[in-house]
């Protein structure tokens, strides 16, 4: 490529440099986020140590205390104890439930809209499913509060508990706000992302393979099971990771239907939860009251952990889906 390029004029070089400098804004923002959050959380990292990952309590300490304690050179209030495990559990468990629901659902939708449905209805169906992706998360939360929470409390959770109550974690009572409700809302939010990525991969299945299978006498389902699904296995894995990344970092919807629980691990699938993302919203107000600022630093540490966890999910997605998360989103608009 480089060899074929014509000699660059002075104007063109200025143009290239100017656009290159502006394009640096993307790495700069990204690195700035990482550096500032890391730097801001440093006192907390020192103070909390490894206990941060095993602690289930978020305790600012004695706010009325006139003295402070010092641990590893960092000041905190007496009794201050910050643990992320409860939040980590809420985050991972709600996202897991979301994926357990969303992956088979998305594969079914992708199969229906690319293979099974009559051609004339495919495109409108795809457009409708894509509309789900465009709904703001705060409106999912609103719908969750108005529709899903009462439904979970009155019907779904008691029903599940009475049928599957013998399975560990399925028994119990609920206010409607909690882990399962969050998982269902998250599943709704990530399904359009996963299904659109998977559908595009299904559509790329070589036609001659598909026709060959049909010509050999396969039914449509047998053709899908032996040709279409195996062809897209890695994309399904990657798309699920994309969905996971989205679910892990989702804030508003879970904040509104999760019920909020900072100081104890969930005991069953109906337990109220906080995630790392929702905790950053709910705990910031109280963090202002900590005169040592340690609570603010600890929240930055939560943000750092959340950042790294979602980064891991998105990197995994990148391995499976070429072009990564932006490509998946962008191409949806072009479909």
């Amino acid at each position: 490529m480089r060899k074929q390029r014509a000699p660059e004029g002075r104007g063109d070089r200025a143009f290239r440099l100017a656009t290159a400098i502006i394009a640096a804004s993307l790495p700069v923002f990204m690195i700035a986020i990482l550096v500032f959050i890391f730097q801001y959380s440093l006192p907390a990292i020192k103070f909390n140590g490894l206990g941060f990952f095993t602690g289930t309590i978020w305790n600012l300490g004695n706010l009325n205390s006139v003295s402070t304690i010092t641990k590893n050179g960092v000041q905190g209030l007496p009794g201050a104890d910050f643990g992320v495990l409860t939040l980590l559990a809420g985050t991972v468990l709600s996202s897991t439930i979301a994926l357990v629901i969303a992956i088979p659902t998305s594969i079914a939708i992708a199969l229906f809209t690319s293979e099974e449905a009559p051609r004339s209805v495919r495109e409108p169906l795809v457009a409708l499913v894509d509309l789900l992706a465009g709904i703001p998360s705060v409106i999912y939360g609103l719908w969750g509060i108005i529709v899903l929470v009462p439904l979970m409390q009155a019907t779904v959770a008691p029903g599940l508990a009475s049928i599957f109550g013998f399975i560990p974690f399925f028994g119990g009572r609920t206010s409607g706000y909690g882990l399962l409700t969050s998982g269902i809302v998250l599943a709704l939010m990530v399904t359009p992302i996963i299904s659109s990525t998977v559908r595009e991969s299904f559509a790329k299945t070589p036609t001659d393979l598909k026709e060959g299978a049909l010509a050999l006498g396969c039914t449509k389902w047998e053709m899908e099971r032996r040709i279409v699904l195996p062809f897209s296995m890695t994309t399904i894995a990657g798309a699920s990771m994309l969905g996971l990344g989205r679910a892990l970092g989702e804030t508003m919807a879970v904040l509104m239907v999760g019920g909020g629980a900072q100081n104890g691990l969930p005991t069953n699938i109906y337990s109220p939860i906080s995630t790392m993302a929702t905790a950053i919203v709910t705990l910031l107000d109280s963090a202002f009251t900590d005169p040592t600022n340690l609570a603010l630093y600890s929240l930055a540490e939560v943000a750092l952990v959340l950042f790294l966890v979602t980064l891991a999910a998105n990197m995994a997605a990148r391995i499976f889906v070429s072009g990564g998360i932006t490509k998946a989103f962008v191409s949806r608009g072009e479909a």
Binding site: A24, F112, A117, L142, W143, W221, A303
Partner: protein
């Protein structure tokens, strides 16, 4: 498999799968219609002139509408400027640097919006001392929109046929002239689609704004720093948890306005894409 029953079983499987995928697809659409239904039905009693002309301190959501548009306009100005030129760079000049930028764009898309919000709080609200402010919020939204606008611009520019660009070069035009006069015009619908998607995403964001713009019960005073701004998504989140019927109506009408904005932007994007593909 060779017997008649085998064939029957296989056909039954086939039909069951078709039925199952149909049912699942319909089931995922029920929440979509229910969300629209719930928002419309619950906001109807609240739709009156006062709702759209009064502030949230009394019985309206005017400051929310104005504030949302203000924040999105401000962030769009920054994000479109940065995204357009970044996209031009990525499509016109390849190389290792471009793939680094692409990589960071992808990573940036995956950063949870609340993390962007906390970053904005630390850097702009605290370190730079802007306080809760429109500019802090606008930069947070810019970070969220920028990768989309950059990548859609890149994709749209890449679809410009080489012959068209070569025609321009053959006439002696420079790269800058070719991009601005030929390529950008040809790719305009695709680029605008990306911008519309970005705008629609940032209109619906809440998490990055809570600790950057905070909230304000009065109209934004258009100062960039040292004054909080109210916006629609905050009204939805905060007011639905209040006991008053009026507060619920304000939340629902805010949702309706937001949904209409988002749907219009989405349909606009789809329409542009459809036209673009035809031409």
């Amino acid at each position: 498999m060779k017997t008649e029953e085998g064939v029957f079983a296989r056909k039954t499987w086939d039909k069951s799968v078709r039925a199952l995928t149909l049912v699942v697809t319909v089931m995922i659409l029920i929440p979509l219609f229910d969300i629209i239904y719930i928002v419309v039905v619950n906001s109807l009693p609240g739709i009156n002139l006062d709702m759209f002309t009064h502030l949230t301190v009394t019985d309206g959501i005017l400051n929310g509408i104005v504030g949302s548009l203000f924040l999105v306009a401000l962030s769009s100005v920054i994000a479109v400027f940065l995204g357009l030129f970044s996209g031009v760079y990525l499509s016109e000049f390849g190389g290792r640097y471009a793939s680094v930028v692409r990589f960071f764009a992808d990573v940036l898309t995956g950063v949870p919006s609340i993390v962007v919000g906390y970053f904005g709080y630390i850097v702009f609200v605290l370190y730079l001392g802007w306080g809760f402010s429109a500019l802090a919020a606008a930069i947070a939204l810019t970070i969220i929109m920028l990768p989309y606008i950059t990548r859609t611009t890149e994709f749209a520019l890449r679809k410009v046929p080489a012959e068209i660009k070569e025609g321009s070069y053959a006439l002696g035009a420079s790269k800058a002239t070719t991009v601005s006069k030929i390529s950008l015009r040809y790719a305009a619908p695709g680029i605008i689609t990306g911008i519309l998607i970005g705008v629609s995403i940032s209109l619906g964001e809440t998490a990055p704004l809570i600790y950057t713009a905070y909230f304000y019960n009065y109209l934004p005073n258009l100062a960039l720093i040292h004054s909080p701004v109210g916006y629609l998504t905050w009204i939805i989140w905060a007011f639905i948890n209040e006991p008053l019927v009026l507060a619920h109506q304000q939340a629902f009408v805010s949702s309706l306005v937001l949904m209409i904005f988002v749907l219009c932007l989405g349909l606009g994007a789809r329409f542009l894409v459809a036209r673009w593909w035809k031409s």
